[in-house]
Structure formats: structure tokens, C-alpha cells
């Protein structure tokens, strides 16, 4: 007997709405959250223009035209030219490649590594946990940006080393959160029951711990992404990131400092692009948190 037939037999009838399809649910989510949707569109647009920089860029990012130094935006050069006569739009597009590759990969690698370390530390406990957590204490007690500076100085200045530095800086925080989730989930009755009935450690991790931790990790990663873009730009701004002739947003802003009188566009174009990118990423992170973390919903009863 289906539930509908049961309900008829019992003398009342109810209608079970079919669960909306995944696509419909996403659409509804998008309607409820226009800011998140807009920022998702901006981030996707930036990602696409970084991937297709080679096809979109009107000029080569390194082609020097000495006759056209520091020209303002015009039909020929949409965003003008820089102090060596290179096309700013093309350089910004190639810069997006550096900026987004470094920030997305570093957040991905850092979150994953932190999650694995936190999982091992929390699941196996004992002296391993103690040592790992003390090492994390040490890393966390050096200010993140200073530590990233030292790592880049130690490994040498390149965008790949900036990537490594940001990933390393993200590990302690992520591993802390992961460890807390593991400890919390492990003490739940159903997980103890699974262990008691012979489930292996790997099975408990895969079936019970990972699904519980994924939301937390996504929230952390979405918040870290904005910070990663800023650190990358800041290190390139200081000349410790991408090296010439590779274009990067932070470096272009630093170059603009010297020529703001003749070419103010050299200052404000990278400024706007960096800020809008981080803004979109942060708003997206906020939306991700609102959707995944029900704790922040709901309001107060008292009106002030």
C-alpha cells in the first residue's frame, strides 16, 4: 500500500509535493539570493576571461610599442597602454590568469592539506595529535602575511612560490576546524555504533566524517579565497610575486605608482579590478555561508 492509499484508507487525503528537481532548487536559491548570484556571475566571468586570455586579449601582453607610452583608454587600446607601450587590457587579462591560478590553487591545496592533517590529528589522537597541534600553534603565532613573506623570500620570488606560501599559511586554521569536526563527529552514538560493529577506520572517515566536514571546509575555503587574492596581489605589489615580463595585478599597480601623473589609468584600472574581484569573491563566500550555515539565519525578537 502506498502512503497515498494509506491516507485514503485512514479517512484523510494529503498531497505529497514531488521534490523539486536539482535545477529548480538552484533556480529558487538564485532568486532568493540575487547578490550571491551576481557575484557568482562575476567570478565565473573572471575565471572564463582568465582561461581564454589568449583568445580575448587584443594584443600580446609583452609587445612593446615605444611610440604609444602611457596612452589613455581609446578605441585602439580599450584600457590604454603602460609605461612601455604595452596594452593594459591584454596585461590585465593575462594578470587574471596569474592572480586566479595562484589564489584558487593555493586555497584548494591549503584547504585539502589542512583537512587531511586535521583529520589524521583528530582521528588518531595521542602523541601524533599533540605534536601536530603544537606545530600548528607555532605556525599560527607568526602573523600570516609575515610568514608568507618569509616563505617567499626563502623559496625565491615567483608566482608558484607565492602559491606555496599562501597554501602553507592556510593550513593551521583549516586543520584546527577539521580536527574539531572529527572530534565532535567521532563521539556521536551512530559513529561509535559503526565502529563497534566492525567498520574500519577508513570507512568511518569516508561515510561519517567527510560528509559532516564538507560544509565547514567549503565555508572556510570561500572565506580564504578573498584573502588569497589580496595576499597574492600584495606580494606582487612588493615585487615578491610574479616576475617580469609576467603580468600580475599587484605588480601593475606598483608600476602605476611611478607614472600616475602621466597615466592615472595605470593606477585606477588595477585598483578597480582587484577590488571588484575580491568583493565578488567575498560576497560569494558570504552567500555560501548563509546557505550552508543555518546558525546565522533568523533575527531578534526585540526591536530597537
Amino acid at each position: 500500500m502506498t502512503s497515498r492509499e494509506t491516507s485514503v484508507a485512514l479517512g484523510f487525503e494529503y498531497y505529497i509535493a514531488p521534490l523539486p528537481s536539482r535545477w529548480r532548487r538552484s533556480l529558487r536559491l538564485a532568486r532568493q539570493n540575487p547578490v550571491g548570484t551576481l557575484s557568482l556571475v562575476v567570478v565565473l566571468g573572471l575565471l572564463l576571461s582568465a582561461v581564454f586570455a589568449g583568445q580575448l586579449a587584443p594584443y600580446s601582453p609583452t609587445a612593446v610599442a615605444t611610440g604609444l607610452r602611457l596612452e589613455g583608454p581609446s578605441g585602439e587600446h580599450l584600457l590604454g597602454t603602460d609605461q612601455l607601450g604595452r596594452d593594459v587590457l591584454s596585461r590585465m587579462l593575462y594578470g587574471a590568469r596569474v592572480s586566479l591560478r595562484v589564489s584558487f590553487l593555493s586555497v584548494g591545496i591549503g584547504t585539502l592539506a589542512g583537512a587531511v592533517i586535521g583529520m589524521i590529528s583528530g582521528y588518531f589522537g595521542g602523541w601524533l595529535d599533540l605534536i601536530v597541534q603544537r606545530v600548528m600553534d607555532i605556525v599560527m603565532s607568526i602573523p600570516a602575511f609575515l610568514f608568507a613573506l618569509v616563505i617567499v623570500a626563502a623559496l625565491g620570488t615567483s608566482s608558484t612560490n607565492v602559491l606555496i606560501a599562501i597554501a602553507v599559511v592556510l593550513i593551521p586554521g583549516t586543520s584546527r576546524v577539521m580536527r574539531a569536526v572529527v572530534l565532535q563527529v567521532r563521539s556521536r552514538a551512530y559513529v561509535e555504533a559503526a565502529s563497534a560493529s566492525g567498520a574500519s577506520g577508513m570507512r568511518v572517515i569516508a561515510r561519517h566524517i567527510v560528509p559532516n566536514a564538507i560544509d565547514e571546509m567549503l565555508i572556510l575555503a570561500s572565506v580564504a579565497l578573498g584573502a588569497a587574492i589580496i595576499i597574492e596581489a600584495a606580494l606582487s605589489f612588493l615585487g615578491l610575486g610574479a616576475q617580469p615580463p609576467e603580468a600580475s595585478w599587484g605588480k601593475m599597480l606598483a608600476e602605476g605608482r611611478g607614472v600616475y601623473e602621466k597615466g592615472p589609468h595605470m593606477v585606477w584600472i588595477p585598483s578597480i579590478v582587484i577590488s571588484v574581484t575580491v568583493l565578488a569573491v567575498n560576497m560569494l563566500g558570504d552567500s555560501v555561508r548563509d546557505i550552508l550555515d543555518p546558525k546565522v539565519r533568523g533575527g531578534s525578537e526585540t526591536r530597537f
Binding site: 607555532i138 602575511f145 616563505i151 600584495a234 605589489f237 601623473e261 582587484i274 533575527g299 526591536r303 530597537f304
Partner: protein, 315 residues
Amino acid sequence: MAQYIVRRLLLMVPVLVGVSLLVFALARVLPGDVFVAQSVNSGLSPEAREQLREEAGLNRPLPVQYLEWAGNAVRLDFGESLYNKQSVNKSLKRAFPITLELALLASLIGIAIAIPLGVISAAWQGSPFDYLSRFFGVLGLSVPNFVIGTLTISYLALWFHWTPPGGKTSVFEEPWLNIQQFVFPSLILGASFSASIMRMTRSTVLGVLREDYIRTARAKGLYPRPILIGHVLRNALLPVLTLAGTQVGFLLGGSVIIENIFSLTGIGAITFDAINNRDYIVIQAVATLAAFVFAGLNLLIDLSYAWLDPRIRLA
């Protein structure tokens, strides 16, 4: 209480040893050393470079080098720079007041903006004011301080032909020059500092507003405003204080960039130069000191926590 402080101070020792070991190890991974960096400019021969390394004691076994450095550091002697042979203590002492002034001003400005905005925004949740200040918060998190700094310094020069006066001034001797040097850097650093504090304040106040005792207070007939100040603020500001302490690292990181843009010669500038010159004696000193300040400040915050909230017993 005294026992608690002593234990916390003792716990700082392994962390500081760990930090200095870590930075020592990282610095030794450096592809070149200070003399390679120098020889690019001055054309040192490889033999002369080797000679200098020998003299500076860099050819000795690493444990010996570390222990010697640590032994002196315990006595607060950080050795001399490999780059220009100046005493690290002296240059730190010269630079410290600048960064301290910058950090103090920035955190004062940041807190003065953040707490009122956060509290009002939470109390009027959903109002235009709330949206506006939340937008300010996201904007402050998103526009990096070096972007605001570059725009400020460029347009001040372009429109007003004004550049911040260089050189080291003291607020006690030349207050007017000092203000001119620090007004923009501390405003910029403070504004970006305030963004994260504002968001924290807003969310902790929202959390407290949902507590039962707030409803009870309202039910007793207390007016909303006394509740906001007497009940909500008191309870919400404690976590904000702790979180603000963890943001000190942010100020230190920010000072590297802001000092670079506004040509201030503080700790940030020293760090930046040391990293460019591969001067690892200086890098070690700065990183260890930063960790010390960080740990000490968090201890102070934990102590003030117990002082502000009598329910908390430190043990």
C-alpha cells in the same frame, strides 16, 4: 592568578623556540645569501664572498649557529645585521616607535568606527543603516589597503601636490610633522582593520540579542536602549575583544605594505629590506619578536577577559 600568568608565560617559551627554529630553518633554505645579494651590486668575487661567509660564521654547523643566536636572543641581544653590520637591536629600537604609533592609531581608529557601526547595525537589523554598514564592511574587507594607499598617495600628489614629509619625526618633538606623516597611513590601516571588527561586532551582538535574558529584560519592562547598553554591549564586547587580539597579526602584515607606500621607516620597512637583502639575522629577530608580541597580547586579553567578566575563572 599569579600562577596562571606564570604558567602562560612558561607556555610561550616552546612556541618562541619553535618560531625561531622554523624561521631559522626557512632562512637557511634561501637560494642565495646576503653576500650573493650584495655581490650583484658591488661585484664581489666568489672568493671574497667565501671569505665574508667565513668571517660572519655562516660556515659553521647549523646547530652551533642556532644555539649561539638563541643564547644571545635570550639576553635580548639579536646580533648584528649581515648586510650592513649594524646592531639589530639599535635598528629595531629606532623603528619600533614608528610601527607602534601606526598600529595604535590604526586600532583606535578602527575600533572607534567598528563598534558603533556594528552595534547599531545589529540593533536595527534589516534597516537601510544595517545594509549600508554591512556594505561598508564587505567593501573594507575587499578593497586591499595597498590599493587605497596607492590611490590616496597618487591623488594627493596629483591634485594637491602634497606628499607626506619623509624622515623620522617624533610626536613629542615635532607633533605637526608627525601628524602629517601618520594621518593617512593610520586612517587607511584603521579603516581596513575596522571592517573585520565591525562584522564580528554585528554578529556577536545579533547572537546576544537572541538570548533569553534579553527577552526577560524586555518583558520586565526595561526600555530597549538601557538593554542595549547594559546587557547587550557588556556581553557582546568580550568575544569582540578576543577576536580583535587575533587581528594584531593583520596590523603587523599591513604595516609592511603601508610603511612601504608612505615611506615610513618602521618594523615593516626593516622586514621588507631584510627579505630583499636575504639578511636572515634580521628576519629571525623580527619573526620571533612578532610571535612574542602576539602571544603577550593574547595573554593580556585573556587576563582582561577574567577582569571584565567575573564568571570566568582563570585556572
